[in-house]
Symmetry: C2
């Protein structure tokens, strides 16, 4: 007999079906036992007499007859709430050991270390699993938006001979006895493809060996990127806001139920995202809070939260674009504003109080790039392939990137980015907590 998915069983009243899934809950009423079985389509209640002993999370196969539930027993919270299956055969495909905690609750309610130490188990919990359905939708939304921008999808390497952004926060790889690095971002490679395709998009990895543990950084993360040629600063702002808005709107629309379950407040997507220079934003903040951050070179986390509150209240929008960050605070390839080179043609898109997309127009002149690389104390020889691109003609161009886990965390109001990564990597953890290092090493 072919397998029936749980949610397809509602159309099979009176018929005998075969189900396959995991035991989510067991309610033992003496001779009669109720089993909630979960498969890829959802949950279904099964019931039987004198069943063999089963344990929660065991993988089972069940044959039985689909019955309509009496109306007062209907469960409106699940799609199969109007039916139950009377079990005629129960086969245990794989028996689960005793669980370290109750998996049958609506909320797991575990501390983060436990959530991650038992990751293969906690990911089975429906509410946890749904985080990654939202993540999948964000990725689909990004792909849709970047295709609409006319981007070609490319695949760039993660092992590199030079560090992308300079700095020491890179992971070193032993590459056949040669020193190599994991890329901090696909930045340099995506730029190199602009003369080939003009507009490119990609999903890659970003590796950051930052020696700190925060709630919003990972050592390995999934990065989504676009890079566009023959564009000016306004084109870039339009493209960034379009991509951010469409990516989020797509997931919000597709995952309404999950957002409701996570009690996410309605998101205001105004097509006219307010745009402020850093200096303008700082002035608004001083007016609102009385605290003077106008001399700061960047937005403080509390500034990001407050300016988003301003956009929400004053502009009916949960996004706000900040532009013109100080040139020396951004990466070497960022184009200084020709009208005021202390500030750069850079931008961040903020959402729910946090930066989600970041980018800039790039320097596209070979000589300028060599000069700035040297001025930053780096060796142009280490950027030889990158610089080659500019030798042979590079139009005005720019782009932006964003992190998938951070976006997932923000959209669902999760308190820690690790909840938005299937197997998060940080300074202290690779699957399990790393052992303490020998201090003498």
């Amino acid at each position: 007999m072919l397998r029936t998915l749980a949610t397809d069983a509602v159309d099979k009243i009176g018929k005998t079906i075969k189900l396959q899934g995991f035991i989510e809950k067991i309610r033992d009423h003496g001779k009669i036992t109720f089993l909630d079985i979960r498969d890829m389509s959802g949950l279904i209640q099964c019931v039987g007499e004198n069943l063999p002993k089963v344990t929660p999370q065991s993988a089972v196969e069940v044959s039985g007859v689909v019955n309509k539930r009496p109306s007062k027993m209907v469960n409106k919270n699940i799609k199969t709430g109007t039916i139950e299956v009377w079990i005629t055969r129960l086969e245990i495909l794989s028996k689960a050991e005793e669980l370290p905690f109750d998996m049958g609750k609506d909320e797991l309610g575990l501390q983060l270390p436990t959530l991650l130490d038992f990751r293969t188990l906690t990911l089975r919990h429906t509410k946890v699993a749904k985080i990654f359905k939202v993540q999948e939708s964000l990725m689909e939304g990004f792909r849709k938006a970047s295709k609409e921008l006319g981007c070609t999808e490319i695949f760039t390497p993660t092992i590199s001979a030079s560090s992308t952004e300079g700095g020491s926060e890179v992971f070193k790889v032993d590459y056949y006895g040669h020193g190599a690095f994991l890329v901090q971002s696909p930045q340099l490679y995506k730029q190199m493809l602009v003369p080939t395709f003009e507009r490119v998009c990609l999903v890659s990895r970003a590796y950051r060996a930052e020696p700190s543990v925060t709630t919003r950084h990972l050592s390995e993360s999934i990065q989504m990127d676009c890079e566009l040629g023959f564009v000016d600063f306004t084109d870039l702002l339009d493209a960034m806001e379009f991509t951010g808005r469409e990516t989020i709107s797509y997931a919000v629309e597709k995952c309404k139920d999950v957002l409701n379950e996570y009690k996410v407040a309605e998101i205001k997507v105004n097509k006219n995202v307010p745009r402020l220079t850093l200096r303008e934003a700082q002035k608004i903040l001083m007016d609102r809070t009385g605290i003077d951050h106008t001399k700061e070179l960047d937005m403080m986390p509390e500034d990001e939260r407050e300016i988003c509150k301003w956009a929400h209240e004053e502009k009916n929008c949960d996004f706000v674009t900040i532009t013109h960050f100080p040139t020396r605070k951004r990466s070497f390839y960022t184009m200084p504003d020709p009208k005021d080179p202390e500030y750069s043609l850079s931008y961040d898109l903020l959402f729910k109080g946090v930066e989600i997309l970041s980018g800039s127009q790039r320097i596209n002149d070979y000589g300028e790039l060599v000069k700035i690389i040297k001025a930053k104390g780096m060796n142009p020889e280490n950027f030889k392939m990158y610089l080659q691109t500019f030798k042979y003609g590079m139009p005005p161009e720019g782009g932006f990137s964003f992190g998938l886990e951070r976006l997932t965390m923000l959209l669902l109001d999760l308190s820690n980015i690790r909840e938005a990564s299937l197997f998060p990597r940080d300074m202290e953890r690779v699957d399990f907590r790393l052992p303490p290092k020998n201090k003498e090493e």
Copy 2:
């Protein structure tokens, strides 16, 4: 004035337009100069009098009037072959240095080291760039096929505490002073997600520190994977063949023109892919060639080519599935055939004489896995997160994976996999050829 894309200019006869692109060819006829300009949509011929001096590959902006060409001057090879643009203004946005070779030929005709040493330049060549349009289509085809299988797209880590398959061919990473590895494949992680989503698909990286240089291996490659729960061996063969067939058919359909340009012979996609056990295939090969490989534990490269010839000639199909490889030749997680445990429930899909997809049903019993890990001389402690999955209930499951670059190479009959990677990594190259190692190290 807004920019017009080259291929949109055909509808603008008599109008003044603005084009942006790269100079592909310059034909200097004294006072009159013809410029072929390439943008993301294609090529367009522009012509003008007393133009400023330009160089090939420079990025330019051109204003001009669209004219119909006389019928005998029509170029049927390009979409804009019926028109040309009379240049009224030419602005050089970024001037290219003198090129190291002629980029204006239909075929670049470079040796591989030159092709890669000037990668940012050679990728601009239309015929080279099209390889990656085919690659993009293969990825789209894979995503479409895996969605049809009901897979959830997941994102798994590339930094791991244990090597996936055992063996020493792994890249070591200095992870905050701890030893870690780059994954040889996402195999273990995708299996861990089966109890969460039942069916998963993913695009990840595969890192192989193989100390050899061949025409069909890369040290870093893009890997596409599926893993399905609650399936038997036949379900898995069906899913693998479906995915392989649909991925290729999608790209063939979408990139017809490129395949023609690459003179690719018509591909026979028969929905009934012939299935042979390794032993059956070896017998057919002995009958065809007279050479006895029936004692071999695997297919030799010449065997793969010959059995594909057999499938093409006898079964009207360019695919052939080989099953039941010897258990000891496959990875530890491969399920032995219960009827004959010397052989395993494994399979390869061959296409054009080469293996493109590979997979198996997996051992899904915790105790069996621990036993085999120990028997292979590995430490179960290194597989603790992986094994956790099986402790808490794992249904019969299996999957398959394939490499994007190899598939691209085969589809276009390229002679070296490096041509199918934007920036290939191998033992000898990271962008440029690595310097010789100090032998004393």
